[in-house]
Subunit: 225 residues, 4 copies
DNA sequence: GATGAATGAGCGTTCATTCAT
DNA sequence: AATGAATGAACGCTCATTCAT
């Protein structure tokens, strides 16, 4: 059992970074500084110069850890997927039937993020904001194909795969499990963003969370015909 | 009848540009040049300097039309929504019942784009690629709220509103029409992109288009319970 | 008598402008707009683009009147000297003895400026601010010598000359009349500026104006030994 | 005694620069290059690009030392005041009576500048030309008040203060010591400039220096009634 | 004579990155 | 391993100016 958990431990593909930021005090400061700063000013205005200033280090030192700011975003997002998968494994462990596991998985994807005390240098709530607002920029790039080849999106794909497996267990004849799950993920990001900034593109219902289209019932309806 | 069509003519909110690019030969060259260049190198690498070179003009002249490259992307995307709405009106005019109108609307949102001979300086296929790959960058910005206030997303919101009206006609009790339509729009972009670059996040079925999750039948199933 | 007055009429050397701004409604609007704008943002930030916008015309039209913004400043300052000389002639006409004429002259140079109703398109108070803050920029230039040759500083030099004549009448043996008068002029500008912005460089005495060093008595003391 | 000298060492307020140009070889090259170039082409035509070229470095490197060209001029002028004060302290040390100290101070303010071998990277003669022709631009700016607050004119004010103290020692009842000294300073600049470029505004007497109005005798006459 | 459109040139700034310590 | 200093390259933008109408 422990092995499985370890297997999904919250770590990211080594190809993304030059030196593992978890391996040093400075590295962790770079990560927590990045989350603070990027959440505040957005990815486009974010630069290594500003990061260095806010993390109390130098540009040159940041370059020891990440090749460029894109790779750093890649890292943050990958960490987020790894963390989600990690929680997914716990939340679905030993749960039967598959329908219940699917229910819990979808809830996890769609729910508001809460602070997780385990990772002192990471503010998960701000990280979630970054994921909502910036994660698409991670693949909407001329270099997607290359970055895909070096495993940059592995954690995202594995998470989708894992839940797709549950979908197929619930209904082996359902034809679009990956499409469904990735749509839930991306869709819930968009709808959260719309609810906050472009309410005309969503439906805000008093007392309901902003991503109800992707509620468990709706999803089960899709999967089970 | 003519009036309605005029009302949805393919024009964009004047707040987006400084000088209407449709109003001059150079303006149209800037637009067609932008589409060519941005499709090729992506929005992030796109600069006014490169645009000027490729459109055979100068940066200063481009600045007569658009304040910055973000506003120019805003224009392209708004033009696309205006064009979609324009076609929507034609395709649904005089069609009954509402279910059939909804069917045609969803098909329009989801289908592959074809060249439209009416607008000589616009390559709609390349423009669609830009919309798929870059349109989210138009609102995933620290300035969304401000740009929303100046009407930058008006055309998108109006298109969603128009189809939501049809949804409500089909089923007045359906609670999430806007969310459904904006999810179809954004989701079909993502799935198209995934199909091309990250197939692990979608389900490619031989002979089917890549956005079948949003097929007419699925959508009708959602709307009609 | 009338002739003398005409001779010192408030006009500036034609070499400074391309087309006389007094000769047209637009020309006068350019002048009054310049005074407003330059007083507000300062000469360095002042551009023909901003002037055109604020005067409701175009850059190209401004170029019909002035070669560049430096020539325009030259014009404003020359107009100011012409206006001062004009008033000097009136204030000293038929006054005896020379000592009294000198007294009145110095008072004119040093006193606070008041609005003069005669020139509708010119706000003399704001123009005086411009002269205080910007007039030295008119000659502290690599092109002084050239501009001097085309008569750009004629009005200033003539004013100084005219008062120097009075000084020499008072005391024919006084060796530095021009130096004295130009020092009074420039010095009163500086002291006015210091009183407002750098009080540590001047002596602000309650109830006295800020340029008392150049008071009539001090000056007479200099001239009469 | 040594302490006093140290106290007036030739250094400028750190708020003016980003990195102290005296602290590196490149910094000193930037200063000497600035003096050469600015003396030649004037402050207005002076740009960081041209400076970088002439100093054999890059614009980016210059920006490590100074925020902009205005701050660089501020530095040069402040350095000049610091240097003057430094020499003033030497020239007046242990001199009695106060009248003699005032005499020597005024001579220092007014005399032609000579090369000082102590500061290898600074050509004091050219720097003096810059001070004569450009120093007023340092405060004739919309930002005077702000720059005054950050201490940009501290060195100038302190020099004036120091000599004003001597004036008051000579005659405690004299009311305008600061005004007198700042007028001598600015006036001698102007008269030097006029003598070279606008002789009609000064009095050039064979064998006399161009700033005789501010000669020791004249000044003493002012101070001692 | 006045205006609208277009342009050539260059400035100020910042970024990403490298080198030496 | 981390840092400080320096740099090459480019971007965004504006200015002064000209041309055609």
């Amino acid at each position: 059992m422990q092995k499985v958990v370890e297997h999904v431990g919250v770590y990211v593909n080594p190809g993304i970074y030059i030196k593992d930021p978890e391996s040093s005090e400075l590295g962790r400061r770079i990560i927590s500084g990045s989350i603070e700063l990027m959440e505040e000013i957005g990815f486009d205005a974010f630069t290594f110069r500003k990061l260095a200033a806010s993390a109390g280090t130098t540009e040159a030192s940041v370059y020891r850890y990440f090749e460029n700011k894109h790779k750093l975003l890649l890292y943050l997002v990958a960490w987020y997927w790894a963390w989600l998968e990690y929680r997914l494994v716990f939340v679905t462990a030993n749960v039967e039937p598959a329908k219940e596991r699917l229910k819990r998985s979808v809830e996890l994807l769609v729910q508001e993020t809460e602070q997780d005390g385990q990772f002192a240098h990471i503010n998960e709530i701000k990280l979630h904001h970054i994921v909502v607002a910036e994660s698409v920029k991670v693949y909407l790039t001329p270099d997607v194909d290359h970055e895909n080849r070096i495993g940059a999106f592995q954690r995202y794909k594995r998470l989708v795969e894992r839940i797709s497996d549950i979908v197929r267990e619930v209904n082996p004849r359902y034809k679009y499990p990956h499409m469904l799950i990735s749509t839930i993920v991306e869709g819930s990001h968009h709808q959260r963003f719309f609810a906050r900034h472009l309410p005309g593109l969503t439906d805000k219902i008093k007392g309901e969370d902003s991503v109800t289209l992707f509620s468990v019932e709706s999803v089960l309806k899709c999967v089970c015909q």
